[in-house]
């Protein structure tokens, strides 16, 4: 039992770190502050062989603070070579979907029913289609809400299990959706037919709270577990080494 109290942001960071547990020597690609803290935490503790980039064209060595440049670099990885990592499966990405639906499809492209004239244009599908059918994929949702967790996405950027199955064996072969970490809970894709399922509630969060913040009825498997607390050593690493400026609290503010 931890003697210091972890904030929600720190619990989320440890849950993100756990996403890369067991991955060995592959590229961890986190989007957002808390997943970035999580990936560096995973490498600094239980997954020492993970690869990380500096966000530009270098593999970064060591553990360094978020919002800063790494001091040591261990390799060259321009954008073009990212596709080699993606297509060979040597990467586990954690993306931030604008929408994620019951069937595990993710959208970062555009919102609205008319594709030719969307209500809200976002980034575009980016690498999400190729990522999801090529290598392990997880998601980070900093604000669990009915706008983010929807019945059905308007554009499938990240491919969910049912959409992959419909597209055939080549789409399913390397599909490997892992977890969804939100500010309230951890979900996975082990509901019926690969749909989203509640895996654990963060300490202090109720099932009712999560249901109310989800735009569809979320599957549960009996009594939901409680997301683990970070260890004292993990908290020390987060607070003193990886995020001394407390940027994580801006992404998920303490209540």
């Amino acid at each position: 039992m931890s003697i210091v109290t972890a904030t929600r942001a720190e619990i989320c960071a440890a849950a993100c770190a756990d996403a890369w547990r067991g991955d060995g020597e592959l590229l961890a690609s986190p989007f957002g502050t808390i997943p970035t803290v999580g990936a560096r935490l995973a490498r600094a503790t239980f997954e020492p062989d993970l690869l990380l980039t500096d966000g530009e064209a270098a593999f970064a060595a060591g553990t360094w603070p978020v919002g800063e440049q790494p001091r040591r670099r261990e390799g060259y990885v321009p954008f073009r070579s990212i596709f080699e990592l993606v297509w060979s499966g040597r990467r586990h990405v954690m993306m931030i979907p604008s929408q994620l639906d019951r069937a595990g499809n993710a959208n970062i492209s555009c919102i609205g029913e008319d594709y030719d004239r969307p209500k809200v244009q976002l980034l575009g599908v980016r690498g999400a289609p190729g990522n999801t059918v090529s290598h392990p994929t997880s998601y980070w949702i900093p604000r669990h809400s009915p706008r983010a967790l929807v019945e059905r996405v308007d554009m499938v950027a990240g491919v969910g299990p049912a959409a992959a199955a419909a597209a055939g064996p080549a789409a399913e072969r390397f599909l490997d959706l892992r977890v969804v970490v939100t500010d309230l809970a951890v979900l996975d894709f082990r509901g019926a037919g690969g749909t989203l399922r509640l895996r654990s509630l963060h300490p202090g969060v109720t099932l009712e709270q999560v249901q109310a913040a989800t735009g569809f009825e979320l599957a549960t498997d009996g009594e939901p577990a409680t997301t683990r607390l970070p260890s004292d050593e993990e908290l020390r690493l987060i607070r003193e080494v990886i995020d001394p400026r407390g940027l994580r609290e801006r992404e998920v503010p303490s209540a």
């Binding site: 954008f79 073009r80 297509w87 599908v125 980016r126 554009m155 499938v156 992959a164 055939g168 080549a170």
Partner: protein, 289 residues
Amino acid sequence: MSNKLMSEEQVVAELRSGMTIGIGGWGSRRKPMSLVRAIARSELRDLTVVAYGGPDVGLLCAAGKVRRLVYGFVSLDTIALEPHFRAARQAGAIESVEYDEGMLYWGLYAAANRLPFLPTRAGLGSGVMRTNPDLRTIVSPYGDGEELVAMPALRLDAALVHLNRADAAGNGQFLGPDPYFDDLFCMAAERAYLSCERVVPTEELAAAAPLSTLRVARWMVHGVVEAPGGAHFTSCVPDYERDEAFQRAYVEAAGDPERWQEFAARFLAGDEAGYQRAVAQWQNDEVVA
């Protein structure tokens, strides 16, 4: 070796309305903005633009030059969403050909190698199969029998890229961390135009940095434009970082039609020299303010 030096206006004079034009760089990084600005103030129209999009796409949308956009994303990096691109999409003003960014790479690679298509897993099961009804799949002729996306070649009429250095023959050198896809854009194009921060004698290229930085070779290039500050306001490291303050001003102006008119009148109405003078004046005003 032939001298391929030309001006932005001479490049634009070689382009035609309705052409497919690829633009190098990535997001708000090392974009050939002086060439983009020249197109924006030209008579060209109905362009198909292929890009890892940033403000290049935004400016051309704002100027009404884009009929069709082929892209995986459009972003300003430190500001996630590009305002003019969003406005154009939300108004239904451009035809959207949206691909996974790896599909874009593969399409350029196919074109560069004169192949009709290349197979890829990227795109399978996603919305891009629905929004691009012309996309076809192909079944592997080998024992695995996998059905993959047949990504069509993205052949370009012209490519525009911006590098740190080049010689007058079109050997181009990137001195920053990433070549992006600039050489592929050049190879996928009938004619490629390279702008650069500084044109130098050929021997200076090899003396300045390892030969691996000479990613664009003269056989790929038809025209060379010396354009100091030509990537502004995108980054062109190590020559300069992204002008974040100016990018913010661009985004703020884009949010309001009247302010955009002012912005365009102040910065985009004249030629490239006029743009650079107006930016210098703006930066001076910012420091004083």
